[in-house]
Symmetry: C3
Subunit: 258 residues, 3 copies
């Protein structure tokens, strides 16, 4: 898979990525986008989001801590994105609290270019039972059938994050091995990955390769980070550094594709 | 005091801690919980908070930057927590702005398992005069009588943070010495400590020991962090690393109990 | 220009700086203020902001991610600041989305002590065409005439950030050279600079020197940070460290004034 080409396109386009995301990870997500070569815009109000989604290269909808006002912004951004701007759904804690689960089931009908979550979230979004909070209680293999169904129903590329990442569309799938368990000890690495998916989708024409490259980039940065950091505070810093320093060839070297 | 036993329980239970906290520290608090061995859920809407507080192991209510919507979430979470989930009140800037002071006086009646603040906040919550912003203008010794009264009135364990930390319940108190002044130069170390109190309370049966261990863990991490970091940016990173690396025996070695 | 005197005053006064700022940078801004020697209060509700702005030493209004509730807080804080507390306007993405552009044009009439933005934002606030998102599509030299007009119309000191920073009031201007391009790869360095302007204005009598010193302090910290960090994660940490470690003489040594 041509990670190097997708990475080169990202560096060239510097995609403007509008993130409507949870309040825990706004800063970390913006920094991950900057480090990877994209340009973040964390704009999420009802009044401004439709207009902005029309000029952005990609949009992220992450439902980790939605407010009434932010739900309005999300609906506006998705409307603005229809037909020209690829948007990514990150259904955080899907299958847990009812309100967000209903919202995710509603907007998944509106043509996301990609859906990214852990195994429990993807299974729940496809109609199965959900997990607890933001942690997955299922594993990636459990989610393959659900991800394939979801890809067929929605037309989206589906990314399932875990110790291995699974990337699925209606016709194919791939497993990406890499990263490190410390990624789970830093809040927002998964949410930042959702934003990276939107960035690659905004810069590269093949959605399957774009989403796979986003996952490979994040995983590879984890593999690199752990060489200089063995605890979560310094690991988070090293992960951002590695997102910045890795080029396309290095990304390919750091992960295994199956 | 058996810090090692409480710390071992936290590692085993991996308590799910729901944080309704201020917008400045959501990321840092979640990272501190993850580093210490707990699982954060920063969920604070009126619609989802009652339901979630029923399944969480502990709940944090921190009034640093409340909005109308978040006040609704806080009332819902406290209602959901009643009778089974221990919740912690962190009355940030209590005695300053009127709205939050009224709110803290209201909810302190609803059986918090612990109250954590600086000396000025604890004195003000007990009915005395308050400080300026988030800084304490009183010292920990000044707050002993107020903390004891507050513990008797509410049934809560009261933690008063400062150069030394004072832990008080209706029958006993203890002083914990440790940490470093650079903790005051990193925003959110006190707020993260409130979340750690909720984590320990959710994992350990003795509330007094749970709250004391949370304070000892945070202080010990400060003592360790300053050995590799002499300025606030790197100190914050090292503090998260130390929260992760310290075991129960090391926590006990790093602090002095009086 | 006497950076050392302004810096010494900041250390002595420890100004309380109320920040009504965007959700991406609350934590980083508070940490930058603490590192530089000020005391942050990130309080922005309609109910509490007027009262608090009266006791703060300085107020920051940053419109990066405004909500309806925060606009109310901003109007209240500006009202509370009138006549005694210097306030700073950071018109993020001015000239982009209409709602925030209208708001910035409204409040700029209400006597800000300083306005800080990139070249595109300053040109747009003065009535010219705007940029895209938070990035400047114009350069600092392009903004000189607009900044001078804006300074004359409003009475504010105007700071234009870029590879070189331009500081302008109705009668004079100065260029400050320093910093490093990695500052653009860390979200919130510009927003933190707005808060530092409010801190210096709250601690030092001469507004032109106060705003220039804030810019010099931030630039000098960038020049220092890059000596130990070559990627954005570690650079952000090193920048906070340098804000803390630099004294007034060192700030003067690290920048060039023209």
């Amino acid at each position: 898979m041509d990670f190097a080409d997708a990475h080169a396109c990202l560096q060239k386009v510097e995609p403007l990525v509008q993130c409507l995301t949870n309040k825990v990870v706004t800063n970390f997500t913006a920094n991950a986008l900057l480090a990877a070569g994209a340009s973040p815009a964390m704009l999420d109000t009802p009044e401004e989001s439709e207009e902005f989604a029309q000029i952005a290269h990609g949009v992220l909808i992450n439902i980790g801590t939605p407010s009434t006002e932010q739900y309005g912004g999300m609906r506006a951004a998705i409307a603005g994105a229809q037909g020209h701007t690829p948007w990514v759904l990150d259904p955080v804690a899907m299958g847990g609290p009812k309100l967000r689960s209903d919202f995710a089931r509603e907007v998944v009908q509106q043509h996301p270019a990609a859906i990214r979550g852990n195994a429990s979230e993807i299974i729940a979004l496809n109609g199965g039972a959900g997990g607890r909070g933001t942690e997955s209680t299922a594993n990636v293999n459990d989610a393959l059938a659900a991800a394939q169904e979801l890809a067929k129903k929605t037309g989206a590329v589906v990314g399932v994050s875990g110790p291995k990442d699974l990337i699925v569309d209606a016709n194919q799938h791939v497993l990406i091995e890499g990263g490190h368990p410390l990624l789970q000890k830093v809040t927002g690495t998964g949410c930042a990955l959702g934003a990276l998916c939107a960035a690659y989708l905004g810069a590269y024409d093949d959605p399957f390769v774009a989403v796979a490259t986003a996952h490979a980039h994040a995983s590879a940065a984890g593999s690199v980070a752990v060489r200089s950091a063995s605890a979560p505070g310094s690991f988070a810093v090293a992960w951002l550094d590695a997102l910045y320093e890795l080029d396309g060839a290095a990304i390919a070297n750091e992960v295994t594709i199956k």
